[in-house]
């Protein structure tokens, strides 16, 4: 078990190309389950592969335990990795696949056998030990890849989107199995995913990356409730946080925000979390409201100045809750020149309207094209500087 620490580690694929990972500083504690998330191409895999030794580090220093491993070949780092496509050896049986590392290390045959069988037992693979990978289902292959990693009892596990090739149900099951195994073995784990739910449910801590830069490292709840910047706020959460540029007015005691034709009063609770908000009276901020911050008018006891009326574009009834889609006739919030939501791959239909999603109790019947009146828990709202994207803390 070991600490993995990056100190301003950079990676540049081509001599004159952009930095795939830019001066990453990150320490993964012993026994910690660290999840790396971020949009596609942000450098998660690159960071992981640098730990594995599969990519050369072009700047900074990477340590596993006490040792600087920049020039240590992969095999000497005592780490195990699970690849997205499993990378099983196609011509070897499950048994040989799992035992390969031990065989290379010249472990005695009897021990290979017992350790392989133990690992298979743990993963429920015992009856498939003598099959070739091509005769296994996707989930079973995934388990073999896991088995190959755990049989060696390495210092660090690395996993690069290991569940993305599985169907939804299997994914849920494997998710808990991986958590279970990691807890049981207590091995340091670095896990790359772009699945929000995996990130939030699996990690002790989650590191969010964007364009090679580390945005925030925090426990999942902190990440959700205290995003370090506009990007994290927009990226974490599904459906994503509603962001809109708003003019701040009112008094320092009870400021108001105005966007499109709506005005909302901000509850005092929000000012405790964002003390700098009153300084912005008379200018604009970016207001962030999570979908669950909306409630149907009658469901909560909120003052009238915290309510607004929206015309429903689309209502998705999901049983326990209803997702109400509406739009505001203002341009969407931009981050580095692109609409924030666009980065996750969701097509922003228009550049002149901002979509709003509200999540309300499932008992309500909401029809399209109707007006609904919603109350807003503004004490939970988030506020960011429009210029820098920093939170107004």
């Amino acid at each position: 078990m070991s600490v993995v620490s990056f100190s301003s580690v950079s990676k540049q694929y081509k001599g004159d190309g952009p930095l795939a990972v830019d001066a990453l500083d990150l320490t993964i504690e012993d026994g910690e389950f660290m999840v790396l998330v971020g949009p596609s191409g942000c450098g998660k895999s690159t960071a992981l592969r640098m730990i594995a030794g599969l990519e050369e580090i072009t700047g900074g220093e990477l340590r596993i335990g006490e040792r600087v491993v920049n020039d240590v070949p992969p095999g000497d780092r005592d780490i195990a990795m699970v690849f997205q496509n499993y990378a099983l050896y196609p011509h070897m049986t499950v048994r040989a696949n799992i035992g390969f590392a031990l065989e290379v290390a010249k472990v005695p045959k009897a021990e290979i056998k017992s350790r392989t069988e133990d690992a298979a037992e743990m993963l429920g693979l015992t009856e498939y030990l003598d099959r070739l990978p091509k005769a296994l289902s996707g989930g079973q292959r995934q388990r073999v890849a896991m088995g190959r990693a755990i049989v060696r009892s390495p210092q660090v596990f690395l996993m690069d989107e290991p569940l993305s090739n599985l169907d939804a149900k299997l994914r849920v099951q494997m998710r808990s199995e991986i958590i279970h195994i990691q807890k049981r073995l207590g091995t340091t784990m670095v896990y790359v995913t772009h699945d929000q739910i995996e990130a939030m449910t699996m990690g002790h801590r989650v590191a969010v990356m964007r364009k090679g830069l580390l945005q925030q490292v925090a426990a999942p709840q902190d990440l959700y409730h205290r995003p370090a910047n506009l990007f994290v706020a927009a990226f974490i959460g599904s459906p994503a946080m509603n962001l809109v540029t708003a003019a701040v007015g009112g008094s320092a005691e009870r400021p108001t925000v105005t966007f499109a034709e709506h005005t909302l009063a901000i509850d005092h609770g929000a000012i405790e979390r964002y003390p700098k908000l009153p300084d912005r009276i008379g200018s604009t901020v970016i207001l962030g409201l999570r979908p669950e911050h909306f409630v149907m008018e009658g469901d909560a006891d909120l003052p009238d100045d915290q309510k607004l009326t929206l015309n429903v574009d689309l209502a998705e009834a999901m049983g326990a809750e209803v997702h109400i889609h509406a739009h505001l006739d203002v341009p969407p919030v931009e981050l580095d020149g692109a609409p924030v939501a666009a980065e996750e791959g969701e097509e922003e239909l228009s550049t002149s309207t901002t979509n709003i999603i509200a999540r309300v109790e499932g008992i309500h019947t909401v029809r399209e094209d109707e007006d609904v009146r919603l109350a807003v828990k503004t004490h939970l709202a988030h506020f960011f500087d429009p210029a820098t994207g920093d939170p107004l803390r």
Binding site: Y89, A101, V104
Partner: protein, 401 residues
Amino acid sequence: MSVRRKGPRATAVRVLTYTILVAVAAIVVFPFVVAVATSTKNSQDIFNYPPTLIPREAQTVPAADVGLEGDSIPLYAFADTDAEFALVDNNVSVAEFRPLDDLERVIRLDVSSGERTGETVTIDGEEEDVFLIEVDGAQLEVYRSRLTSGGLFVDVADPSDARVDLVNLVEPLEQFGPRLENFREVVVEKDLGRSLTNTILVTIIVVAGQIITSIFGGYAFARIDFKGRDRLFLLYLGSVMVPFVVLIIPLFQLMLQFGWLDNLAALIIPFTFTAYGTFLMRQFFVAIPKEIEEAALLDNASRSTILWKIMVPLARPAIATLSTFGFLYAWNSFFWPLVIINSGNPDGRVLSLTLSTLGGRGSADLNLVFAGAVIAMTPPILVFLFAQRYFVENSASSGLK
């Protein structure tokens, strides 16, 4: 071209298609059939005209059947009867008689037959005695135009019926009779055996060497990145366009200086490196997912472990292709052995070389030469038939798309 499935026209197209295909196949196969047929003929049969595809041998009866001692005796047939005649003596005196009323007709009989009538006639200015002979129960006036030696033929079924005639004018009775000793003879007596084992040796080592060097080189080109590697690879590719004739003389000089002239080493060592094979293996290795190799690297496998335990087992089809190409190349090569194994050292010769010297046009040993040719052609054809899946695919994709 797609052929429509139904209707009389479709049937016609189909018939035409198969007719063309079969005709071409016949043109392709015919020389091989001739080769096999000729290789099993005996040394008389090869000169028969018209040529036949079926090896024939003379029909015989045991000597005892006609009351003689010794070996078996060949059988002949006369045009006027179905009976089989044995040639019991091929050196008897024969008299040729010509009837006076039909000077073109020739009747051959034993010298003792015929009675002189005492009369004479003048033929072409020569005075000849007139004889009286009996043919088919009729008496004929003839003169004796010539005395010669011929054969005595006896009817096997009825020994009393004996005839004399010139042996080459009687049709010998023949039957299907392949002469398989040709193969033994050419291998043992014409020294083809030694050439055959030399060829086998050369082929085995060349193929093994090509596989090993191509695996190493192909792997390096595919998977181990270093500066200048891709430029070097282009150089390898370029080398494929250099025709072998340009290298013949300098390679000959090199072999001369190494002291390898007339030695099998010269046929083997320069050919254990192949740019084409390296290219083939590289293309295959490039297509193997990189993660498989990375997984092995993380398992602390060394490069050579990865190569032999993971890449090579996966590359079996490519290796099979390479072996087939290497086999055909090494087995069939002729020009280079001709240059190198040249000073009459029969122990260094390979099959193609020996075959080329076995006999020229119209050689008396044509059946043996053909037996040798069949021995030389069979292994590559067999290898091709077994490996054609790999071979055909790769020949086709070697430069196309």
